[in-house]
Every structure is written in structure tokens, then in C-alpha cells.
């Protein structure tokens, strides 16, 4: 077995153990209703986490996504309110915009040779500021097409609702897996995260890959913004503050190495579901307070960071021992 896959199995193990604990304590939780809600409530987070996974795999970070989601919501709401456009062309326009926005940040990171952290921090300010400029107040979306989208679901056995946005999230994960594992671009992303210098020696076009990976993250943030606007039925510039950190946490809990180069898109899905599960558990319990979510997520982060540090140390000493 590859040591690289161990965190993924740990992730899956923790999720299954979590499911078991939930099921033992609250047998009611094992219903399609809970499952449907889990997918629907975390759809926007999951989608943006797919983009974040690729960025982190490449050795970068994207702090702008939370703001971009908020901007997307406001943009859609204002466009639908002030122009007579149908939502679909607005969606297309928005996705083009956020993709280009991500590409610009990637270009700056590559050109300026500055940490992604600070460049995307500027991107975070700018996107949030742009959202404010469009509207400070929450703008409701009343377009009939939105009602259609919101009411689109498939009734699972057991009365659980598999909503459109839940399905969209799952499809996004499939897309992310294909991009990461079945394209040359995906391999380049892993290569870059494994070591920039070596990647360049092997022929990775670093600039192009960096621009593309942030563009992909921008696209995912835009899509997530659409999903979030469907979920809430409005656009609000103060929404999804800090979502980038939740997404990063989901990626890390999903077993991806924060320094890049190792991890799986599927792990991120499990990470998102684990975080959703914690929240669901707390809701079911009723006596536990919401802040335990944050503390448990922080603990999980710690566990995974230490686990990966330990694995790194282990593989190094094992190789050293063999070379000796």
C-alpha cells in the first residue's frame, strides 16, 4: 500500500466510525432524509472544496473563495433584479467572470513569485468589496426559474429529498476526480505540489498550470455561489464569510497534505461529509452547543496534520535506514 493513501483510509475510517456512533446513539439518523439534507446543506461547501483540493494539491492556497461565493450571489441577484435576463445567461456570465478572476490571481502568483496566501488575500478583499459595491443589503431572488431549481428533487425511498444542488455537488466531485486523476493537467498539478524544481525539470509548464489551477478554483467558487444562491434564494454580500477556511479544513480532514502533492478529491468529499455529520450529530443531540463543531473540527485538523507529519518522518527514516 502507498503511504500516500493511508490518510485517505484514516479519513474514511473516521467517517464510518462517526456514522456508527451516530447510528448507535440516534438510530433515527440512518434515514435518507438525513442523507438528503447532508448533501443539500453542504452542497456549496463541497463544490468549492473541490477547487480548493486542486489548489492545495498544487502546493498553493486560495483564500478568496468565500468572498467570491458572496459576490456571485449578489451579482446574480442584482442582475436578475435590474436586467430582464434569464438566470442561465447570467450563470454563464458569472462563471466566466469568476474563472477569469481566479486566472488573474494565478497569473499574479506566478509572475510576482509571491506567496499565494497573500495574493489571494488581496483577492478576498477585492471580491468582498465588489460585492459590497453591488449591494450591501440582502437581495432576494424572485425569478420563477429559481423556484423551479429550488423545487427540483428526487424523492428517495424513505422520503429523503435528493435535491438538484446535492446532485450537482456529487457531479462536481466526479468532475474533480476526472480532472485530478485522468488528465495531464491533473498530473501536472500533483507534480507541482511534489516539488516545483523537479516538476520544471520534468517539463511541467509551471506558469500555465498555476494560472489554470486558480482559474479552476475560481470556476468552482462561482458554481458554488450559484448553488448557494439557489439554497438561500437571495444574494447577500456578508454571506459565507470564512468559507475558505471551512473548505481548507475539509480538504485537510479529507487527507490531503497541506503542503501539496498528495491527496485525493474523493477524500475531500468524505471530509465535507464528516464535517456535515458532526453538525448533524450536534443538532440531533440537542444539548450540545454549536461551538463544539468548531472545536471538534480543530481537533480533527490537528490529528491530520500530526498524522501527516508523522508519516513524512516515518518514510524518511525508513528510507534512510534502507540506504544505510
Amino acid at each position: 500500500m502507498n503511504t500516500r493513501t493511508l490518510p485517505l483510509f484514516v479519513t474514511i475510517g473516521i467517517f464510518l466510525a462517526g456514522c456508527l456512533i451516530c447510528w448507535v446513539q440516534f438510530p433515527n439518523m440512518a434515514s435518507t432524509r438525513v442523507l438528503g439534507n447532508l448533501l443539500t446543506d453542504n452542497a456549496y461547501l463541497g463544490i468549492v472544496a473541490v477547487g480548493m483540493t486542486l489548489v492545495i494539491l498544487s502546493g498553493g492556497i486560495d483564500l478568496s473563495v468565500g468572498s467570491v461565493i458572496a459576490f456571485s450571489g449578489v451579482f446574480i441577484a442584482v442582475m436578475l433584479r435590474d436586467t430582464g435576463l434569464h438566470p442561465l445567461p447570467v450563470f454563464a456570465l458569472l462563471l466566466g467572470l469568476t474563472t477569469a478572476y481566479g486566472a488573474c490571481m494565478g497569473w499574479l502568483i506566478d509572475r510576482l513569485a509571491m506567496p499565494a496566501f497573500i495574493v489571494t488575500l488581496a483577492g478576498m478583499f477585492l471580491a468582498r468589496g465588489a460585492a459590497y459595491l453591488l449591494s450591501i443589503d440582502s437581495v432576494p431572488i424572485a425569478h420563477p426559474f429559481y423556484q423551479t431549481l429550488q423545487n427540483a428533487y428526487w424523492l428517495m425511498p424513505g422520503k429523503g429529498r435528493l435535491t438538484l444542488i446535492g446532485v450537482l455537488m456529487l457531479l462536481t466531485f466526479v468532475l474533480g476526480m476526472i480532472v485530478a486523476h485522468r488528465t495531464r493537467f491533473g498530473t501536472s498539478v500533483y507534480a507541482l505540489g511534489g516539488g516545483e524544481q523537479t516538476a520544471r525539470l520534468m517539463g511541467v509548464r509551471q506558469g500555465r498550470t498555476t494560472v489554470l489551477v486558480y482559474a479552476f478554483s475560481g470556476l468552482m467558487a462561482g458554481l458554488s455561489g450559484i448553488v448557494f444562491s439557489i439554497y438561500t434564494g437571495s444574494g447577500y454580500s456578508l454571506a459565507t464569510v470564512g468559507t475558505e477556511l471551512t473548505a481548507i479544513a475539509a480538504v485537510v480532514i479529507g487527507g490531503t497534505l497541506l503542503s501539496g502533492g498528495a491527496g485525493y478529491v474523493f477524500g475531500t468529499l468524505v471530509g465535507v461529509l464528516t464535517m456535515g455529520l458532526i453538525q448533524t450529530y450536534i443538532v440531533f443531540d440537542g444539548t450540545l452547543s454549536s461551538w463544539w463543531t468548531k472545536i471538534v473540527i480543530g481537533l480533527l485538523l490537528l490529528v491530520f496534520i500530526l498524522l501527516q507529519k508523522g508519516l513524512l518522518h516515518l518514510s524518511e527514516t525508513r528510507l534512510a535506514a534502507r540506504d544505510a
Partner: protein, 339 residues
């Protein structure tokens, strides 16, 4: 020596002066100060007071960044310390004990981050992300999700009192900045911190105790976060675990960056960082006074960051040197061509 120090902070001072001039253009009364009830009042005084949390954080963040690190957890630490202080005061421990507990909590948070960074060897960004995520939960655990209000007037003084005409928070950040700068420059700490930020390997080989120094720097950051948390909590007479210090880590980092300190570690100037905090606050208040919607604030911050990044970029610097050398070579070649 004072000459070089002044030269170092000149760009920040000029930027601040230009900004004040610009704001005064839109709002002529910006610099006007009146005395009201023994207190100085005016927009500029307001800037001094409201800069306090970010300026205090910027002092610690300057040191952390000088070691080539970053601390994302300071906002959460502020919330924890505010909650601890408010809880203790409402429980009737008395102010000194409450303050000591809050500062102890800040130091503990710093110790935690420092150990992860210096001993376990986790990248600072990742290490401090843990406390950033969990910290707010811990703060809420203490306040039990409510805004913990208190009525202790002595504690409230920390956030909104007036001392010798100026708001107490203004004195606090001024004193902290001056003291820290003095400690850094009058002892050898400043140089040792810079040396581990520039080249940790070489410094360790020369006998610098990088591990202890790193932990100490993160603890100093925790101390600053505790002070900032106390100011914020005292100002609103309540500990708000959800919102106290929210996103202030980013403003603190921004202040340090505006202060011309490199994110890649090394030479630092606390004075420049504090002026950076003043610049941020002047923009915020200036935009409001000048009658623009405050929505511009974030856009301006973003533009600021990008401009500073371009100025700091190693690649741009290399290209600039290349063109300068080229130009010089060309000039010399021409000089030789026409004897």
C-alpha cells in the same frame, strides 16, 4: 542611527501624510481637535483610538513575520482572552486576576502555536490554522454562546477610558509599540529574531537558540492578542465570541506588509507596522467622513496589497536590477565609444 530609522519609516510616514491630506480635502475638519470635558475629541483622535486592536496585533505580528512565520489564530485568541476576562470579572474575581487570566490564556495560545511551529516543525500557516478554527469554538464554550456583558467600570476603562486627554487604548498601543521596539533594539533580541528569519540554519550553527526564540515570539504574539482582546471586550463592555477580533489577523498582517516588512522574514520595523495600522484606520474613517460608502474600504485594501506585493516581489526586483544594469552598461559603452 535615528537617521536610518527615520529613513526606514519615511515611505509609511509620507503615505500617511498624503492620506491625511487627501481626507482633509474631502473633510476639512479631519485634523481639528477640540477639548470636551478634559478629553481631546476629533476624527484624528478617533483614528488613534480605533487603531488600537490592529496596531497592538501588528506589533506581535511584525515579530512573527520577521521569523518568516505567520499567525492566523490571533483573532480567535482575542476572542478567547476577551471571554476569559469577561467571565472572570462577572464571576467576581476582581480586575487584576481577570487581566492576569486573560493574558495567561494569550500566552498559552502562543505557546501552543510556537511548539507546533518550532518543535513539531509544522508550517506556521498550517499550525496556526488549527487554533484559528478551534479557538472561536473555545471562546464560545466560555461565553456559552452569549455575549457576556459586565459592568466593571475599571475594566471598561481599558477600552474606552481617557488618560491625560487621550483615549486609553491609544496610550496602550503607543506604549506597547515603544516598549517592544526598545526591548528589541536595546537588547540583542531584534538581531537574533532577524537572523533566524533570514537564515535559520546558519543562525542555529552559530549558536542561536532558534527553537526557544521562535516559541518566545509566538508567545509575544499571544500576549499582544490578549491585550487587543481586552481592549475590544472592554470597549463594548462584553465578550462577543463570535465577532471579537474577527478577521483582524488579516488586518494585522496587512499592517505589517504596509509597514514594508517582507513576508519572507528578516529585517523588521515595529514603528512602520504601527504606522501601517494607522494608515488602515485612516482609510476606514476617511472614507466614511469623505462621504463615500464604506464599501470602498475593502477594494482600496485590495489595491494596496497588490501594489505592495508588486513592490516587494523578488522577481520584479530582479528584473528592475537587470534593466538598471543594462542601462548602466549601455551608458558605459556609449561613454567608451566617444572618447
Amino acid at each position: 542611527m535615528t537617521g536610518t530609522a527615520l529613513k526606514r519609516i519615511a515611505p509609511q510616514l509620507l503615505a500617511l501624510a498624503a492620506l491625511v491630506g487627501l481626507v482633509s480635502l474631502f473633510y476639512p475638519g479631519f485634523l481639528s481637535v477640540s477639548v470636551n470635558d478634559g478629553r481631546l475629541v476629533g476624527p484624528a483622535i478617533d483614528v488613534l483610538k480605533r487603531s488600537a486592536p490592529v496596531a497592538i496585533l501588528a506589533v506581535g505580528m511584525t515579530l512573527v513575520i520577521a521569523t518568516r512565520g505567520i499567525d492566523l489564530s490571533v483573532g480567535a485568541t482575542m476572542a478567547i482572552c476577551g471571554a476569559v476576562a469577561a467571565y472572570a470579572v462577572s464571576a467576581g474575581t476582581g480586575l487584576p486576576v481577570a487581566l492576569a487570566l486573560a493574558i495567561g490564556a494569550g500566552l498559552l495560545a502562543g505557546l501552543w502555536n510556537g511548539v507546533l511551529v518550532a518543535l513539531v516543525g509544522v508550517q506556521p500557516f498550517v499550525a496556526t490554522l488549527i487554533l484559528m478554527t478551534a479557538g472561536r469554538g473555545i471562546a464560545q464554550l466560555i461565553t456559552e454562546g452569549r455575549i457576556l456583558t459586565f459592568t466593571d467600570p475599571a475594566f471598561a476603562f481599558v477600552g474606552s477610558g481617557t488618560l491625560w486627554g487621550l483615549p486609553f487604548p491609544a496610550w496602550l498601543w503607543l506604549a506597547l509599540a515603544v516598549l517592544t521596539a526598545l526591548v528589541m533594539r536595546r537588547t540583542a533580541l531584534g538581531m537574533l529574531v532577524e537572523s533566524i528569519g533570514i537564515n535559520r540554519r546558519a543562525s542555529a550553527l552559530a549558536g542561536v537558540n532558534a527553537v526557544v526564540l521562535l516559541i518566545a515570539v509566538y508567545m509575544a504574539m499571544g500576549f499582544c492578542a490578549a491585550l487587543a482582546g481586552l481592549v475590544v471586550t472592554a470597549d463594548i463592555r462584553g465578550a462577543d465570541a463570535n465577532n471579537a477580533g474577527l478577521w483582524l489577523e488579516l488586518d494585522a498582517i496587512l499592517a505589517v506588509v504596509i509597514g514594508g516588512n517582507s513576508l519572507l522574514g528578516g529585517r523588521f520595523s515595529i514603528a512602520a507596522s504601527v504606522i501601517g495600522a494607522l494608515i488602515i484606520q485612516t482609510i476606514t474613517i476617511g472614507i466614511r467622513l469623505a462621504g463615500f460608502p464604506s464599501e470602498y474600504n475593502l477594494v482600496i485594501k485590495a489595491v494596496l496589497v497588490v501594489v505592495i506585493l508588486v513592490l516587494q516581489s523578488p522577481r520584479i526586483a530582479a528584473e528592475w536590477r537587470y534593466w538598471r544594469d543594462e542601462a548602466r552598461r549601455k551608458r558605459e559603452a556609449e561613454g567608451k565609444g566617444t572618447p
